[in-house]
């Protein structure tokens, strides 16, 4: 869990001293672990891993995108 500083009020506005990060979801944790293992797997090159990571940045993964990637 990220820590955060007290936010001070200044001249009618707030000074945010540290941006909070939302804790990862279980799914995000699972993918992070999965990707880290795939990086060590010789069957997966850097480009494929980066493409999977890029897919994960948008919403839930889509089966057609993964199929296209693996067939590429």
């Amino acid at each position: 869990m990220d820590s955060f500083n007290v936010i001070s009020k200044y001249n009618g506005g707030y000074i945010i001293e540290e941006i909070l990060k939302v804790p990862k979801t279980v799914l995000e944790d699972v993918w992070e672990e999965t990707i880290s293992k795939l990086k060590d797997n010789p069957d997966f090159n850097k480009e494929t891993i980066e493409k999977i990571e890029s897919m994960l940045r948008d919403e839930m993964i889509n089966s057609n995108d993964i199929i296209d990637l693996l067939e590429d």
Partner: protein, 817 residues
């Protein structure tokens, strides 16, 4: 984040409502249909822009824009506003959301970066527990419990992703099977051309070189499609030659043989053995399971690369050990392996027969098309379609299929008039095409081989690529599963201890040694609990529904605490109490009050006893309890803000409304002393209707109090604890004084006897009565935490009288030495 104030305008069943929880626990009590859940929906909407109750199964026709606003108002007039306190920010902030722009949270721009993480976390919904979810969990059978718990824990996205990966894996597997099937068909066509059973490069090369020799070509060393006709001249076809009679004759002969007795017997034997073996396996579940394990283990062995980790789950192994381990496992499945191998052999034999037939059939169809024998072409194409279906059933391991009778399979679905069709094609062919020269036949042979080899080479590449893709999808899938189990087990391990702690606290009296197992298992969760030290079982195996209910609450609280810590302190319990019995409800109150310091519970209930308990046990302050009733479309619920009973009575006295003050005092006293009697286990004269007179409740409560105080003094004396004894004597003196005063004035609150006299009372007359009751109430509760004194029973005798914070703690156990 804590909720300080909430304002709801024209939302669901509420017209206008403002409540002020002030960052403290808050309770809405009211009957079903009074609008409680609309407040929860409003909070849900404010934080997430959605109403979770309006999503999911059975909500197909319900939309936020149409059904979110109050029925008489449009989305433009419907909004929710709140003052909230956010971690790290000293000042409260105002947030607002309107139904006409549900995705836009209105707040000061300067705090947006700070509020966004809270909103994002809220969108995961882990701060709301509804009765529906608990109900789903409780009523789930063992097969679906894992899924229900995942829903309760709001981690269904993991399962959705797993399903997506399964889809990927299956699609790529099917692609691979398809590619393999094409390869088999093409190699069968080559084999058929040459007259060999299995694809053999050397034999094919020999065949090519024999034909090249006829055409004066040099022999080739390597078999490649683009060099088959290298260095030989194309044969100039005679204009009257349409089909090669020599090659057609060979193909026709092969297809004619399908109807031969020898062929029928051979196919029939294969088919019969295959059917019997399949029936044997299907009738034995253990055999089926063993075959699945064996296939997986063999796949693992096939995929095993030079690296020293499992190709399916990436578990590290010492070099060589995994191979040995897999071989050993395969050895264990010896009997299954024999069956599986025989099954594969028979299936392959049948596939080979079909492919050989298709290879010849396709060549015959080409000739029939050249000869313009449309009717024959249609009949033969229809047959090839049926053979293709049979092929896919065999390759997908779905054979036997009820569509295919033994009689059909023994002739490979050949049409009844096959001989007539084939004879007709041959007679027309010899009529139109003269006998070809040896050179022409050699050239045609090479043309066929060249074409088939080209397809074979493409197919090999397709097959290799599709296998690679399939293999990668298997690896991603298995790695994802392994990661899921690791992450979930870590999460479950973290919450398990808290879950057990909370559950034990609830069931101190009967399950002090309670244990639980929560581990990730397959797609779900293996959730088992100990039953009085007699072994672990599913929650619904031996525990009562009430115990299962409280397990659901404890599991949820433990998880919500873990997942929202530091961001959302607000936990919403929407009508979650169902079958938990009264004593355990009191313990749940204790749990909420003492185990979740710093959290804000927003609770709704239709259960009056639970509402009272939440207040008497110190979870909810009187000012933070509101009551909904008499809901109407036009006005929404009527809201009774309970406040402090003494403030309300003082208000009545100020207005000179003695009857109202007396009624409130009586009703409040009845509620209060029914809780006191329950907490002290006080004997009350039994009444079958369950309706007790205030007099009965007061007598019981006071008698029990005096009795336990007497025991406490005796105990203190036996231990030589003079300080405690003196303190108890002071309490005794004060309580005696109050009891005496009460006996003198108590008639004043009895409406049955003295209704008419109220009219003659002045506030000055009634105020001493109020003061006595105020003192009386104070005797039965802790002046520090405000919770009721309760009897602690452990074993046959009570051992203490305590409050929840420990400020009051009368020892009742005497020194027996």
């Amino acid at each position: 984040m804590k909720l300080l104030e909430l304002e709801i305008h024209n939302f669901r069943g509420i017209r206008d409502l403002t409540i002020a929880p002030r960052g403290e626990n808050f309770l809405i009590y009211g009957p079903n249909g009074s609008g409680k859940s609309a407040v929860v929906d409003a909070l849900d909407f404010l934080l997430t822009g959605q109403i979770s109750r309006m999503k999911g199964k059975g909500t197909k026709d319900i939309t936020l824009k149409k059904h979110g606003p109050h029925v008489d108002y449009s989305v433009k007039d419907a909004w929710i506003k709140a003052n909230v306190k956010i971690h790290g920010l000293e000042e409260p902030v105002e947030i607002k959301r309107s139904l006409d722009h549900p995705n836009r949270l209105i707040c000061e721009n300067s705090i947006r970066d700070l509020i966004n993480p809270v909103i994002e976390l809220a969108s995961r919904g882990q701060h709301v527990l509804t009765r529906r979810e608990i109900l789903n969990y409780v009523t789930a059978d063992s097969g679906t419990r894992g899924k229900q718990i995942q829903t309760l824990l709001k981690i269904t996205d993991v399962e959705k992703t797993r399903n997506t990966l399964v889809k990927v894996k299956n699609t790529l597997k099917n692609n691979y099977i398809g590619a393999k099937s094409s390869l088999n068909t093409i190699s069968a066509a080559i084999n058929s051309n040459i007259g060999i059973t299995n694809y053999d490069e050397e034999k094919i090369l020999d065949f090519v070189n024999i034909n090249r020799n006829v055409l004066d070509g040099n022999p080739l060393q390597d078999l490649k499609s683009n060099s088959i006709k290298e260095g030989i001249e194309a044969q100039a076809l005679s204009p009257d030659i349409t089909v090669n009679i020599q090659l057609l004759k060979i193909d026709l002969k092969k297809v004619h043989e399908i109807n031969s007795d020898k062929n029928k017997e051979s196919l029939s034997n294969i088919d019969l053995e295959l059917r019997e073996l399949k029936a044997k396996i299907s009738s034995d579940h253990r055999m089926e399971d063993a075959l699945d394990h064996l296939k997986l283990t063999r796949l693992g062995l096939d995929l095993l690369g030079p690296e020293s980790s499992c190709p399916l789950c990436d578990t590290p192994w010492e070099t060589g050990n995994l191979k040995e381990h897999l071989k050993h496992k395969i050895e264990i499945f010896k009997e299954s392996a024999q069956n599986l191998d025989r099954l594969n052999e028979l299936t392959d034999e049948l596939i080979l027969e079909v492919n050989h037939t298709l290879a010849s059939l396709n060549e015959i169809i080409k000739s029939a098309e050249i000869l313009e024998l449309e009717k024959n072409v249609r009949a033969l194409k229809s047959w090839t379609n049926e053979l293709d279906i049979l092929l896919s059933v065999l390759e997908d391991e779905n054979y036997p299929d009820p569509r295919f009778s033994e009689e059909m399979v023994e002739v490979l679905f050949a049409p009844n008039n096959l001989d007539v069709i084939l004879d007709n094609i041959y007679s027309v062919a010899i009529e139109k095409s003269p006998e070809p020269s040896e050179e022409q036949t050699a050239w045609d042979n090479l043309t066929r081989i060249e074409e088939n080899l080209k397809n074979y080479e493409i197919s090999i590449i397709d097959c290799t690529k599709s296998f690679e893709s399939y293999k990668k999808s298997e690896i991603i899938y298995n790695t994802f599963l392994e990661s899921r189990d690791k992450i979930l087990n870590r999460l479950y391990s973290e919450i398990k201890d808290r879950f057990v702690e909370l559950y034990r606290e609830l069931h101190l009296d009967d399950e002090m040694e309670f244990k639980a197992i929560i581990i990730s298992e397959g797609a779900g969760v293996d959730f088992k609990v100990d039953f009085h030290g007699r072994g672990v079982n599913s929650p619904n195996a031996l525990h009562s529904e009430g115990h299962q209910d409280s397990m659901g609450i404890c599991l949820y609280l433990a998880l919500a605490e873990r997942l929202t810590q530091g961001f959302i302190d607000l936990i919403i319990l929407d009508d979650v109490m169902m079958s938990v019995d009264a004593p355990h409800r009191r313990e749940i109150c204790n749990l909420l009050a003492n185990f979740f310091k710093g959290r804000q519970f927003f609770i709704t209930t239709h259960d009056q006893t639970w509402a009272r308990q939440l207040q008497s046990e110190g979870v909810i302050k009187a000012r933070n309890r509101i009551e909904f009733s008499n809901w109407t479309i036009e006005n929404g619920p009527s809201v009774n803000i309970s406040g402090d009973i003494w403030d309300e009575i003082d208000d009545d006295l100020e207005r000179n409304d003695i009857p109202s003050a007396a009624a409130k005092l009586r009703r409040g006293s009845e509620e209060y002393f029914s809780q006191v009697c329950s907490a002290l286990h006080a004997p009350v004269r039994f009444n079958l209707s369950g309706q007790y007179e205030l007099g009965d409740l007061l007598s019981g409560a006071m008698a029990e109090y005096r009795s336990e105080l007497k025991h406490a003094k005796e105990a203190a004396n036996s231990w030589g604890n003079t300080d405690e004894l003196e303190r108890l004597k002071e309490i005794d003196e004060f309580s005696r004084n109050v009891f005496t005063r009460l006996n003198m004035e108590r008639w004043a609150v009895n409406p049955a006897l003295h209704y008419n006299q109220w009219a003659d009372f002045t506030p000055q007359d009634f105020k001493p009565v109020v003061d006595i009751f105020r003192d009386l109430f104070s005797i039965f509760q802790c002046n520090k935490c405000g919770t009721l004194l309760h009897l602690v029973i452990n074993g046959p005798r009570p051992e203490a009288v305590k409050c929840n914070c420990g400020e009051v703690n009368w020892n009742l156990k005497e020194n027996e030495d």
